[in-house]
């Protein structure tokens, strides 16, 4: 009895492992086939470049979220943080025009402030969670509300708009291409590579996994748990600020409706990609695919009028659940134990 179960689980694991790694990729390929069959223009160069550029925001934020979630945390504040950082960036740049002119210097100042703010906001989340001993869910729920209302306050309830004179210098960051790929996609690629390396090839990455698996054991293994966890939130903040830096030049504005629900999209991307929500196992590659899947769903829904507009949310929900079921479900294992 014991022997036979051991056998089947071993067999099941090898099968499940295959599906687990390939699941998100299969889901993305299926979506692309559906998109292409609905409208061949789906695979046109223009649409693909739109898709990749759009994925960059959620994708970059989701890479940060992969670290936080792998280490057993959660960050709900990223969408509001992006809106608040975008707002402050715009205010700083508009005020710097008189001093620094409308050129690259002002844009660099804005980007620098964005990075400082992002890392600082992440540090606050991290310290409140670790030193303050408050659950991450509550801390980031709180900061989510704070950042969201701050941007509303800065904008006086309205919209903050970037000075038109600066847009000329800043616009290329979103709209220009390098070697055929839009700049935001390059940023996404670089963040992905750095993130993959950090999680899979460094001691820090292994610490994250260890803490996510069992925080107590990690502590007794002389891992500086508080510091590592705080750093994951700071990485998250840095990723949010990078996403904001490429978001602001798109429309040159920030308001209280900026980045709404990005936190849930980022978390969904991470989970679709195969990272475990309760921590201990993270996959950067999966996260990237997860972000692409989420953007592709929205894109395909805009390409067809077969489905009522009111059911967009239903389609998104179904595809997210199916994508995760593909890799988590017991269906591979069940077959193995039957035979």
């Amino acid at each position: 009895m014991t022997l036979s179960t051991a056998n089947t689980t071993a067999k099941g694991r090898s099968m499940k492992f295959d599906v687990k790694t390939a699941g998100p990729a299969i889901a993305l390929i299926l979506l692309c086939i559906i998109g292409f069959s609905l409208n061949p223009a789906f695979l046109s160069e223009g649409n693909l470049s739109n898709l990749l550029t759009r994925s960059a925001f959620i994708g970059i934020i989701a890479i940060g979220a992969t670290f936080v979630i792998t280490a057993g945390g959660i960050d709900l504040s990223v969408g509001s943080m992006a809106a608040a950082i975008a707002g402050v960036m715009i205010i700083i740049m508009n005020n710097a025009v008189d001093m620094l002119g409308t050129g690259v210097a002002t844009v660099l100042l804005g980007c620098g402030c964005s990075i400082l703010l992002g890392i600082g906001a992440g540090w606050i989340n991290g310290v409140l969670t670790t030193k303050g001993k408050i659950e991450a869910f509550i801390v980031t729920l709180g900061t989510m509300g704070i950042y969201r209302s701050l941007v509303t306050y800065f904008a006086d309830g309205g919209t903050l708009s970037l000075d038109f004179a600066i847009r000329g210098a800043y616009r290329p960051v979103y709209y220009d291409s390098f070697l055929g790929l839009p700049i935001p996609v390059w940023v996404f690629i670089v963040v992905s590579i750095v993130g993959w390396f950090l999680l899979n090839r460094t001691a820090f990455g292994r610490y994250c996994t260890a803490i996510g698996s069992n925080e107590g054991v990690a502590k007794y293994s002389a891992i500086k748990v508080d510091r590592v966890k705080t750093i994951t939130y700071m990485i998250q903040g840095l990723c949010v600020s990078l996403a904001t830096i490429i978001y602001v030049p798109r429309l040159g504005s920030a308001s209280s409706s900026t980045g709404v629900l990005w936190e849930l999209e980022a978390i969904a991307a991470v989970i679709i990609g195969g990272t475990v929500l309760k921590g201990g196992y993270g996959r950067i590659g999966g996260t990237i695919l997860g972000a692409l899947i989420l953007t592709t769903i929205g894109n395909i829904l805009n390409f067809t009028d077969l489905i009522s507009n009111y059911l967009n949310g239903t389609m998104q929900g179904l595809i997210i659940i199916i994508a995760v079921w593909l890799q988590r479900g017991d269906w591979g294992k069940a077959k193995a134990s039957k035979t």
Partner: protein
């Protein structure tokens, strides 16, 4: 003054209100209640309410306006109670957060003897308000469609970006479609862009990939239109007589129309300043010698370079 005899059943309330009126016989207290501004249109409304307060109080020294904004329906219900019990208002101007949960609270204010003016969102029970002031959603759709028809000919193609799926959006959209019917203009597709710039940008990008020939865009809203314009410029499809029609009356859009912008040549008014209209009418109920009670449905004026200046408020956040 409202006849108190009608409230015979509520002697207590009547007596209280009577004493309140006697105590403040010299000032007319008007409470103005609306949702906390969390988006640009509401921020504009807040600004216009404050402007109207200053203007009316300067004009009539015996008028006292009390502006209160609330962050959710139950907070607004409490605010209404406070306006009655603390401030003992003679009239209420209210833009309800939601119709259902605020119908009873407004009814209670009415029972205190106050004059009721409802703005924009109707209550779920008829006959409570003495004065109703609102924008005209079907008219916004119709006026937009009429303008489209003057610029387009049979066989031209347009796409439509809608707002958040709500009654307001449906009224606008249905009236637009009804007016376009029989014009021969093809409406290629319509998608929700949620009155949001980012969604407007992304939906328009997808429309542009999907349809090689688009002659005009009905964006319904100025925020969506900003996203649409960015997408058109990115794809280099902003020439050839392409035009976008938004709606609401954002100051940046109106400024651009004044300056002769061709990509967004007109705008259709759905003004946040309607709260000021409601405050004016409510004060008139105490000051005018003419009858005032009734329904005021504001026109959805087409804003063109000729008349844009009269709708331009550079200091308003919207």
């Amino acid at each position: 003054m409202k006849p108190f005899s009608k409230l015979g059943a509520m002697v207590m309330t009547g007596a209280l209100a009577m004493s309140a009126t006697l105590a403040h016989a010299d000032t007319i207290k008007i409470g103005v209640s609306y949702p906390t501004p969390t988006h640009a249109w509401a921020a504009g409304m807040n600004w216009h309410a404050e402007q109207a307060e200053k203007r009316l109080e300067a004009l009539y020294p015996d008028v006292d306006m009390i502006l209160v904004n609330s962050s959710d329906p139950s907070a607004q219900a409490s605010a209404l109670e406070d306006l009655v019990s603390v401030h003992k208002i003679d009239a209420l101007v209210v833009l309800p957060f939601e119709s259902e949960p605020l119908t009873d609270p407004v009814l209670n204010v009415k029972k205190s003897g106050a004059l009721i003016t409802v703005v924009d969102r109707g209550l779920s029970q008829p006959g409570i308000e003495d004065i109703y002031v609102a924008g005209n959603n079907p008219e916004l759709g119709r006026v937009s469609a009429q303008y489209m028809k003057t610029r387009l000919k049979s066989g031209d193609n347009i796409v439509v970006l809608r707002g958040i799926p709500t009654l307001i959006d449906n009224e606008r959209f249905d009236a637009f479609m009804a007016e376009m019917e029989g014009s021969g203009v093809n409406i290629l597709d319509h998608k929700h862009a949620n009155w949001n710039r980012d969604d407007g940008f992304e939906v328009m990008q997808d429309f542009l990939s999907r349809f090689p020939d688009i002659d005009a865009v009905w964006a319904q809203d100025d925020d969506i239109a900003i996203g649409v314009v960015a997408a058109l410029k990115q794809a280099g499809r902003d020439g050839d007589g392409m035009f976008v029609v938004g709606g609401a009356g954002m100051k940046e859009t109106i400024k651009a129309i004044m300056d002769g912008e061709t990509l967004v040549p007109v705008d259709v008014l759905y003004p946040p300043s309607m709260i000021a209209t409601a405050m004016d009418v409510t004060v008139a109920a105490f000051k005018s010698n003419g009858p005032v009670a009734g329904r005021y449905i504001l026109g959805a004026t087409l804003i063109t370079p000729e008349n844009a200046a009269s709708f331009y408020f550079p200091d308003s956040p919207f």
